[in-house]
Symmetry: C2
Subunit: 327 residues, 2 copies
Amino acid sequence: MITITLEDVRDAAARLVGVAHRTPVLRSRTLDAMVGAEIHLKAENLQRAGAFKFRGAYNALSRLSPGQRAGGVAAFSSGNHAQALALAAREFGTTAVILMPADTPASKRAAAEGYGAEIITYDRYTADRAALGAALAAERGLPLIPPYEHPDVIAGQGTAALELLEETGELGALLVPAGGGGLLAGSATAAKGLHPGIRMIGVEPEAGDDTRRSLVAGRRVGISVPRTIADGQGADIPGELTFSINRRLVDEIALVTDDEIRAAMRFAFERMRVVMEPSGASPLAALMAGRIERLPPRVGLIISGGNIDAARFAELVCPDHEATTVG
Amino acid sequence: MITITLEDVRDAAARLVGVAHRTPVLRSRTLDAMVGAEIHLKAENLQRAGAFKFRGAYNALSRLSPGQRAGGVAAFSSGNHAQALALAAREFGTTAVILMPADTPASKRAAAEGYGAEIITYDRYTADRAALGAALAAERGLPLIPPYEHPDVIAGQGTAALELLEETGELGALLVPAGGGGLLAGSATAAKGLHPGIRMIGVEPEAGDDTRRSLVAGRRVGISVPRTIADGQGADIPGELTFSINRRLVDEIALVTDDEIRAAMRFAFERMRVVMEPSGASPLAALMAGRIERLPPRVGLIISGGNIDAARFAELVCPDHEATTVG
């Protein structure tokens, strides 16, 4: 069985110095007053390529030999891992070929292409992306860097929580979005490694509660592909590796509705002046909607990403605005 | 003649420790590649109350005696100074009464009220706000804290540039939005005090180029009230005090169109994941539109604020979206 330790996260952090941004920890006294606790928000939406994903992708690439990565790397991703891997590959002077769902937001696809990646699309409601990804990698003879089922990816993702806790000291709870479970597993490894008493809370959209169901059942439970605005949390079953970590280290899962996510995105925009994509706003949504019982006095959360184009934001957050064809 | 020195800015900075956020300096390699220089963006949109204005308002209040501020303070403002003063007054356990233009964006008015301020409105196209403000302060017997014509306000505003330059070291140029000229004067005082060779560049909307005209003429030139989306840069004549500083310390003014500002706001949203209000985006707009000749290799700019509601943002930045009445 593969285990990931606090030391692995620390090693990843050392590799990321000067490469990943050390993102700011945001505060909002308005938010604190609303929820009745001190909230420390680790702004991974301000990370390079707009999400925490760059940490894991870069860490995984750094662990390949120059020869292994010289011909390129392959990946499958619902969006942010694609951008992250494309950028990380460019940093190492190589390229990425990436399978993306056909309904990926245009800005995410354009950004990955902007970093030099080759994009191949598939239908995420019918195809098995892991199998397609493995076939692609085999066909081209490239190393496959999956979005979460990889120890170096998970260790890299844990570095955001490590930085947060270095800055804030001990916190009563840490809220982290749960998709495939990589950010949650890495964060839990870092946080429980530093402060065993911290309450680790994953946050999922109600329509995509595979991690919650799996934790309740004590085994990985699959659901139908969730239809939610939180496109970064569209996993239908936890990863094997991520779940083996999360079942040990995660204390609870909070669920949020799409409307609660929209309200959090609007608050982030208007009162914190930052852009959160729907998945990135789910921990804030859980706090604002009162989804966490017995909230401790000092709480951290990770804003996982901010990749959303302005038109999609307007559509989601300003429902009194409607697309019209001009001229 | 009143002069403001680097020492005044340093003193203000000392008063703001633990009260104002030390805002992050953002970087975007995508932006650097676009403009061909290293751009360091001081994110005052992430300041408390969403703009640099809190620095000056708090510094000015801190220089009043407890007796002077006990009964409240008065101000006039096109928006961000109102929120800032409302918040600063609350920090000192007192209240603010504020004259705001009737067409102030709803979110700015609501935020000032949320901090406990009393709001009185006037028509900014017909009334003389400085005279109205003076009359209000006299009638109620309150100290008036103007938005820029005040040495303690200007010294406070200079602390953002001071922090930026402490973090980046010497820069070839610093771009700052010019409205009434307080941020520009404070920034120029700090920047030229630290690095006499730095190129100080003010940025104004084309429709509101009173500072540029005044610098060219060598005296304060008034224009008709500008109609621009940059509502924080709606001054029709530079302040006396601010102009006396800026004519000494500012090297040039760059002009930007409303469309260039919209493009910068969209870039900030989609590629930097932060919210810039139109005025706050004008230095970025000047860079993106190629408005600065012979750009030096390392450039700083101040994002002056991020107060814009989501609906207004959608209206400005997503022109294919149009308000519709729902249900």
